[in-house]
């Protein structure tokens, strides 16, 4: 994994949401923290090209996010803040198969890939269930399965334990721990990211701290006071 921001800036309707940022990321597990509205989601969306920089550029594994948007999005999997909105087809296995369509697999190959990823997360029994009937934890795992089915190099998760009860939070936390992909996790749940390799703290649209989690979290607690 190799992500580079070069003086990249994000602006919405004339308001600067992320000030020009130069940064390079290659650690396997990166946590992103910060207050509400500090620019975390915007930063993450710039990585997969959903938000184009208004100045500067972002390069992911050698591909510019604007010029090679499709390639960048094939390299990155993204779990949205509200996973309900990323399950596009209501039946879980249909949804996973939809994500695999661009691979032009045969029906059998596609079915096998769907089964494999459901097995990986131990949710084979949910295959024929409807997304809206799933519990929060199941939905989060379902979103994870549908995104990882396409084998991205980098997985970005936007508040994966948000709105989960204690039990589901634990389930998702353990699942994330078990992932061997490169992961980047935005979270208000500090326990989830405290043992990551690197931690970024955003504050008012700027990178306020960047380093080992313990140091970054300390600064965050001070800022929040």
């Amino acid at each position: 994994m190799d992500i580079r921001f070069e003086e990249a800036e994000a602006r919405f309707e004339g308001r600067t949401v992320l000030h020009p940022l130069t940064l390079s990321l290659s650690e396997r597990r990166i946590g992103i923290i910060g207050l509400n509205g500090s620019g975390k989601t915007t930063f993450a969306r710039m990585i997969n090209g959903l938000v184009a920089p208004s100045a500067g550029y972002v390069v992911v594994n050698g591909f510019d996010t604007v010029q090679h948007g499709e390639k960048v999005r094939a390299e990155t999997g993204f779990i949205f803040q509200n996973p309900q909105n990323q399950i596009i087809l209501p039946i879980l296995k249909e949804d996973i198969a939809l994500g695999l369509k661009s691979r032009k697999l045969s029906r059998q190959e596609s079915d096998a890939a769907v089964d494999a990823v459901l097995d990986r997360f131990g949710i084979g029994h949910l295959a024929a269930r409807r997304a809206h009937e799933l519990s929060g934890g199941e939905l989060q795992l379902a979103a994870l399965a549908s995104v990882l089915a396409t084998e991205p190099d980098i997985l970005i998760m936007d508040e994966p334990t948000n709105q989960l009860d204690l039990k589901n939070r634990e389930l998702v936390r353990r699942t994330i721990e078990g992932l061997d992909e490169n992961i980047m996790v935005i979270s208000h749940d500090l326990e989830l990211v405290e043992d990551f390799d690197r931690m970024l703290l955003f504050h008012e649209g700027r990178l306020a701290a960047d380093g080992p989690p313990a140091d970054t979290i300390r600064l965050y607690r001070e800022l929040a006071r």
């Binding site: 499709e70 909105n85 087809l89 409807r130």
Partner: protein, 201 residues
């Protein structure tokens, strides 16, 4: 009712999606060739029997079909006002048959299958360079997916009015419904991009 699809093991469930869609198209055309009441009444009865064979249950069926049926009733009523009773009955029977058949197809066909079949059917248009077949399939799949969701949201907004003791009015219902739906559509569009679903040719 949150998905139009209803799980089951009826004959229609097992029929290939293509047969169902072609059958529905053929029936739709045929219905417009009949202009008198008796054959249309028979058609409506057959359609009702087909729909009943899905085993959805009367109460549930009524809930599912009510919005479309109300629309049909309005059209029939209008026909009665500007035309004759016979014309109105023709319209009522014809559209009701069509509604029942179409509802039977959507209730027994998964969205994934819909997308596949429609994509396939749009291939000739793609070859003419007019459209991207996969986009047409996806759009129609998304419409089918969103119908129940929009109805749900409508109910939620109505409940919110009730909870706050407000009288539901067209404007206070429609504005939040449209805003929420557009916002949701934006997010779904982002998800489609993020997941590379339209990257296919």
């Amino acid at each position: 009712m949150k998905t139009l699809y209803v799980e089951g093991d009826s004959v229609l469930h097992r029929l290939p999606p293509r047969v169902k869609l072609l059958g529905l198209a053929a029936a739709g055309i045929a219905l417009f060739f009949f202009r008198s009441i008796p054959p249309l009444a028979v058609a409506a009865l057959i359609s009702a029997a087909i729909y009943a064979s899905l085993g959805i249950g009367l109460r549930h069926s009524l809930a599912r079909l009510r919005p479309i049926f109300l629309t049909i009733a309005v059209v029939a009523l209008f026909t009665l006002l500007v035309g004759s009773a016979e014309e109105a009955a023709t319209v009522l029977l014809r559209l009701t048959s069509l509604m029942l058949l179409a509802a039977a197809v959507t209730a027994t066909t998964g969205i994934g299958d819909f997308i596949d079949e429609i994509t396939l059917a749009a291939r000739p248009l793609e070859r003419l360079g007019l459209v991207k077949a996969a986009d047409i399939g996806l759009s129609i799949g998304l419409v089918i997916r969103f119908v129940p969701e929009i109805l749900d949201r409508y109910r939620a907004i109505k409940d919110a009015h009730r909870a706050r003791g407000l009288k539901p009015r067209i404007l206070t219902l429609a504005v939040p419904l449209i805003i929420l739906t557009l916002k949701n559509a934006d997010e779904i569009a982002a998800a489609i991009d993020a997941r590379g679903i339209r990257a296919q040719k």
